[in-house]
């Protein structure tokens, strides 16, 4: 008796969740995955998964910064740009050197040097931005914080784009590929090593990041600040430290995404705009400040884009997600997976 009633409540709960907006979205995506794999061939899925991992990296950082610091970061794409640039500047000379002095071991490792350098520079830049800009604003005034910090990030984006143009010009600074090896064959689809590594990096990074947020003392402190800033101070958490760390992590993730996608996105001043918009699609889709949802959302948006460009046309790749965002904002303003959006300082 008791057991069957437990089972029926579980069934009921599952049904209830499946009929929420999030449930419907996931069901629709699964259907879309199956249909596209059958109709268009498995390569659409592979594409969706590879770019999805990168969108997820970007969206997680964006979401974290909004959740912890209440900053709608419109300069997030510029950290992606910095990532592409740093990796290009580090990898190209290494590559030249390796063509003269071939070494298979070094050729395997060199791209990682570029990506790792991008990660470090991204983190460092995040620290500088937090210390020089947001910390200063926070100390002066917290009134109209969301609007003021938003304007600052837009300004920062302009400065970074023009800084790139001033110092390195507007030329495309790209590479055809990181690894000169044969593509991997998966379900009859050829996946280049670059794509495979990009996906692997995204998955591993998100897993580590997830573990860090959920299970470590510092990760817990980051979540605590996002949920209740005053409460966090009351238990002895140093807000400044968490804010610097959050900004550094978020920028590092964006820069890493840029670096590992250098073969797709050559570095030029405004290369960050598209990733920025996509990251915002994802964050609006799943709800602001929802880090877990951002991971799933990254893959959902990538799937949507891939399917749009295959079935409707490449030119529509940005139109369809944008239309979807408008619908979501109209009918479910707190996002598909969102509950009420609560700013840190408006509780």
């Amino acid at each position: 008796m008791a057991r069957s009633s437990v089972q029926s409540t579980i069934v009921f709960e599952v049904l209830r969740r499946l009929t929420t907006a999030a449930g419907i979205t996931i069901i629709l995506s699964v259907v879309a995955v199956i249909v596209s794999a059958v109709v268009a061939g498995p390569f659409t899925l592979v594409n969706a998964i590879v770019t999805g991992g990168m969108w997820a990296l970007l969206a997680v950082g964006l979401s974290l910064v909004f959740g912890v610091m209440n900053i709608p970061n419109f300069a997030h794409g510029e950290f992606f740009m910095v990532g592409t640039l740093v990796s290009y500047l580090v990898f190209t000379p290494l590559h030249k050197y390796l063509r003269q002095n071939p070494s298979s071991v070094l050729s395997t490792v060199a791209p990682f040097a570029g990506i790792f350098a991008a990660l470090l520079v991204g983190a460092l830049l995040g620290v500088v931005v937090e210390k020089l800009i947001f910390f200063q604003l926070r100390r002066r005034s917290r009134e109209q914080w969301v609007m003021n910090s938003f304007l600052l990030t837009v300004g920062l984006s302009v400065v970074m784009i023009n800084g790139h143009q001033l110092l390195w010009g507007t030329n495309f600074k790209g590479i055809p590929r990181y690894w000169d090896v044969k593509p991997i064959d998966l379900f009859g689809v050829n996946i280049s090593m670059d794509r495979a590594v990009a996906l692997g990096l995204a998955v591993v990074t998100i897993a580590i990041f997830w573990f860090f947020l959920m299970r470590t003392r510092t990760g817990r402190a980051i979540r605590a600040v996002a949920q209740d800033e005053t409460g966090a101070q009351m238990v002895g958490i140093d807000l400044n430290r968490i804010q610097v760390l959050t900004m550094a992590l978020s920028s590092a993730l964006a820069a890493m995404a840029g670096a590992s996608l250098l073969f797709m996105f050559p570095s030029y001043p405004t290369v960050g705009l598209k990733p920025l918009y996509v990251a915002w699609y994802v964050v609006i889709l799943v709800g602001l400040g929802n880090v877990a949802g951002a991971t799933i959302g990254g893959f959902l948006v990538a799937l949507l884009q891939t399917l749009t460009s295959y079935f409707i046309g490449v030119g529509w790749e940005d139109v369809v997600p944008t239309a979807l965002i408008i619908l979501i904002l109209l009918f479910k303003p707190s996002g598909l997976f969102g509950s009420e959006v609560k700013g840190v300082w408006e509780q």
């Binding site: 817990r220 605590a224 209740d228 409460g231 009351m234 238990v235 958490i237 807000l239």
Partner: protein
């Protein structure tokens, strides 16, 4: 003297709430701060906890000046603040809230001991350890807030209106818990509107009226005071 507040002025924006407030709490004491709504009781606690910068005056804790320190530093020095709005981490489990309470305690063994103590003090929290804090009832939330405050093994516990919004029997539970803590040697500064009960369980009390200390003395003596009887006890 564990805590000493001297000539404190504080407030929000243009509004000054506290005027020349001085008080002290000795080691092991159970001291109450009572007074009508809007007298500045909460502001006093928030200022001590470092959440509001004082305009004038000094606050000493264990002989050190703390009135210029940030809130997290004050918490690290051994003052735990259980606020009126509780400031729980509502999307985290009861267990995680308690672990965060021990954020400044690096010693894992010590953390587990205190956790045991808190679960012993509030068995309800142990039953609900995996439940999200946001789904707890009002009484359980208060218990969790006090438990989280205890997790850092504070030398001084500041408790703001623990009886607010609670049913009478739950209020009694909370007061009993404070009594137990006090018997364990925890020093407590309690803010309450429930003047009668508060004066029965505390050692000393301050009466705050319109941002100034109007009366102070032994709780037993204040219970006999004519002004207190008329203003707060309805006699």
């Amino acid at each position: 003297m564990l805590l000493e507040v001297k000539g404190l002025n504080a407030g929000y924006g243009f509004l000054q709430v506290l005027w020349d407030v001085s008080l002290y709490v000795a080691q092991g004491e159970f001291v109450a701060l009572v007074g009508p709504n809007g007298a500045g009781k909460t502001t006093t606690l928030r200022t001590i906890a470092g959440l509001i910068p004082p305009r004038q005056g000094e606050i000493f804790f264990k002989g050190e000046l703390i009135s210029k320190l940030a809130a997290h530093k004050i918490s690290q020095m051994g003052i735990s603040f259980v606020s009126e709005s509780l400031n729980l981490f509502t999307a985290m489990s009861v267990h995680e809230n308690l672990l965060l309470g021990a954020y400044v305690v690096r010693d894992r063994q010590k953390q587990l001991e205190t956790l045991d103590f808190v679960y012993h003090l509030f068995p309800r929290l142990k039953e609900r350890r995996n439940q999200l804090a946001g789904t707890l009832s009002g009484g359980e939330r208060k218990m969790l807030a006090i438990g989280r405050g205890m997790m850092s093994n504070p030398d001084l516990l500041l408790v703001d209106e623990p009886s607010l919004g609670l049913a009478p029997n739950l209020t009694l539970d909370v007061f009993n818990a404070l009594e137990t803590l006090r018997q364990q040697g925890v020093t407590i500064l309690l803010v309450e509107q429930n003047v009668n009960t508060t004066l029965h369980i505390t050692d000393r009390a301050y009466v705050l009226e319109q941002g100034r200390i109007a009366l102070e003395g032994k709780s037993k003596e204040l219970l006999e005071n004519k002004h207190v009887k008329e203003a707060f006890l309805g006699m």
